[in-house]
Symmetry: C2
Subunit: 446 residues, 2 copies
């Protein structure tokens, strides 16, 4: 993309309404624009990040054997009356009356609707196990929406639902989700720690939240510092292997890690003092096992192969896709702006032309541009008639991990400058070598 043809409305001033750094940077770097309280438009640059995150979530869910599908945003109140949640949900549910005076709502979550789909079509244990998920817009009418997309009203969420014959099977589905979530967050450059959590309005006994450590997190968290040394890494995983998935669960949840809702000071005190950590975290996902909480009242039953009709065991599993954009920025920024992890960056590399209109500089930039595209990478080329300082400030603000600077002096010596956004370190190398270096850096992410 050439910046002269892009829509990237960066703001020089810090918007006064934004209280946290991710909200400020998302406004300043032209990712979003508020449409109404807690409701945002995703401008082209922000939309690109959202799509990268969505794509990683899809890839990891499909890898885990889960089936993508999609449910509508507007649902009938009838199903929610069946489960008993219509009255229980409270004022956060956006309630709507259609032209025929039917009670509708903008879905905040979809346990009821997916259970209705299941009971209409599945009658036998032979069709189990089954896990389906969607990535769809949700609405929660927060009384005080704040922190930009971190606590907005309309938000993009991955919600998955497993249907299993037994509790044991459902806990394997739970474990598959835990493993796939660890992989998902790591690909985004995040360390998200699974913590024992409270089930809230979804219900259920077993639940973990995934929290990203950040000073601006809404939750207070308590953990054993050993947990931050754990990495999923690039280990092979067979999602059908129960023992292997259970092993990952145990590895990542055996040390103390809880939110304020489930914190147990006595247990915490038993950790060696030098490993006790109190910090703040941002919730970016949650997994639940809730058994037959929905299948029993809604009649989602299957033949168990032994002549009995039994309610299926279920769980639901969410990732806050739009919230993740904010969480990643909270975890990865500096005074100059955003620092995108390679896994989610909207463009892979920025090209800064120090002397627009100079034939050698223009030619070298065009050559780099084409070379990156040929490697399957997306460059953002700042081809505007602007001072070098303004171009650097924009590149720093929008946070592309790698920048190539092309100027007449360097070109005279046959080199361009490759700069790492995170460290600020620069080195001079030939244009060909720069393309090869950047392509090599992104190879694990392609």
């Amino acid at each position: 993309m050439r910046l002269s043809r892009y829509f990237l409305p960066v703001l020089k001033e810090t918007p006064s309404e934004a209280q946290i750094v991710s909200h400020r940077l998302m406004l300043r770097a032209g990712l979003i624009k508020q449409a109404s309280a807690g409701i945002y438009s995703w401008l082209p640059f922000g939309y690109k990040v959202l799509r990268r995150i969505e794509q990683i979530v899809h890839e990891e869910q499909i890898r885990a054997g889960h089936l993508p599908m999609l449910m509508p945003t507007i649902q009938s109140a009838d199903l929610w009356r069946e489960s008993g949640r219509y009255d229980a949900y409270g004022a956060e549910m956006l309630r709507i009356t259609d032209r025929h005076d039917r009670d509708m709502l903008f879905t905040p979550t979809a346990e009821e609707l997916i259970t209705d789909i299941f009971r209409a079509h599945v009658t036998s244990y032979k069709d189990l196990p089954l896990t389906m998920y969607q990535i769809q817009w949700k609405f929660r009418d927060e009384i005080r929406p704040r922190f930009g997309v971190m606590r907005g009203r309309e938000f993009y969420m991955k919600d998955g639902y497993n249907f299993d014959l037994t509790k044991e099977d459902a806990l394997h589905a739970y474990n598959r989700h835990l493993v796939s979530y660890l992989r998902t967050y790591e690909r985004m450059g995040l360390q998200a720690i699974p913590m024992r959590a409270d089930s809230g309005p979804i219900g259920g006994d077993d639940t973990h939240e995934f929290l990203v450590l950040a000073e601006t997190g809404e939750s207070e968290v308590f953990y054993d510092s050993e947990i931050t040394d754990l990495r999923f890494g690039d280990r092979e995983i067979d999602y059908d292997d129960r023992a292997q998935c259970q092993g990952v669960l145990e590895e990542f949840t055996s040390r103390y890690a809880r939110t304020d809702e489930t914190h147990d000071p006595e247990l915490f005190a038993k950790i060696p003092a030098e490993r006790q950590r109190v910090a703040r975290g941002i919730e970016v996902g949650q997994i639940f096992y809730f058994g037959t909480k929905y299948s029993e009242p809604m009649g989602a039953m299957v033949d168990d192969g032994k002549g009995n009709r039994v309610p299926v065991h279920m769980g639901s599993h969410g990732i806050g896709v739009s919230r993740l954009v904010g969480a990643i920025i909270e975890a990865s920024h500096d005074d100059k702006g955003i620092v995108w992890p390679e896994g989610v960056t909207p463009f892979h590399v920025g090209i800064v032309n120090l002397k627009q209109g100079d034939a050698a500089c223009d030619g070298a930039c065009e050559g780099l541009y084409k070379a990156f595209v040929a490697k399957g990478l997306e460059p953002l080329y700042d081809d505007r008639e602007e001072r070098a300082g303004a171009k650097f400030a924009t590149m720093d603000l929008i946070g592309l991990p790698w920048r190539i600077t092309v100027g007449p002096r360097g070109l005279g010596a046959g080199v361009v400058e490759l700069t790492c956004r995170r460290t600020g370190a620069s080195e001079e190398l030939s244009p060909e070598a720069a393309v090869a270096r950047v392509a090599g850096i992104y190879a694990p992410h392609m």
Copy 2:
């Protein structure tokens, strides 16, 4: 995908509520399930088609230089009061009151919100031309939703908006959209004819609808039969070349082609009688130029470089993404079921194992499966313990363009059977040759 692990709830009986063939087949082949009147869940198989169509729309819009972004589904009524459309829109607008008693609505289209984004950020002709688009869920509270996803209430739409300094520039944007839409529909295996149309509530002078000919179409259409000989084909197009885009417009719109809303019997009578056609069509897209209809009342002005502040010239351009799934089926099916065009098929090839459990058959099917995946193709392998007849009926119903049948007799002679869904023609060839043939067929679509 292995069918034993997929969720494909095919129905044996024809659902009584479905009046048209696409609705019947989408229910029978497990693409959708009704959630409420005019509102559908997209089951995994249907969701895959929807994503393929969405992907083609994205690719062709990006090729035309248009920028993807995303606006929220729930919008404030305030902007719609500014344009004067809040009261004018009528009962089809889903009106919502939030917990703070603010008037909100589920967006049926987004001219107001995109104009608001534009006026907040763009002040100079130097930032023009600009075209942004989104693919987002919309809602129109139809009084009698019918025909499944063809006339549902919640629907998925691509809506794009151009901002230009002059009418001439805006008409070039109009032409770019016409060209990109021709390419888009052809890639989906559809012939969609641009027809002079009526502008309706969007407003404006210049507008064309794109109609797919089908007996069940809602619109009566009148056209010169020469128009159905036109193909965009794989010609090269430079979207910056005004004359080239204008040439395509003229080629595709110079012959008579109108809907009942704009039909002119006198003009129609001048076409040679043997070329006059009266038929029915399904609208799958529409492009509009409406000038300053929104920019003037909403104050979307730019400096024109000559010291004047002038309202920008705009247009909006839509493709009915979810409706296209139905339209493609209306245009491409037979008595046995759906016949997917190669460009949108959810799986590229079906593999039918005639003797599940037979080591040679199972091994050959697994080998084919791996070979297709290695070629970047997605096979659907029917590995269920079912009679051959039931497997063939399912494959015919769900409409994958190519099927490979593996049986012990053929394997004994070193061959499998490759069958074309559209023609029913079969031929025997080695597994390796079958993979190469199918990969070759899809090469233009990859």
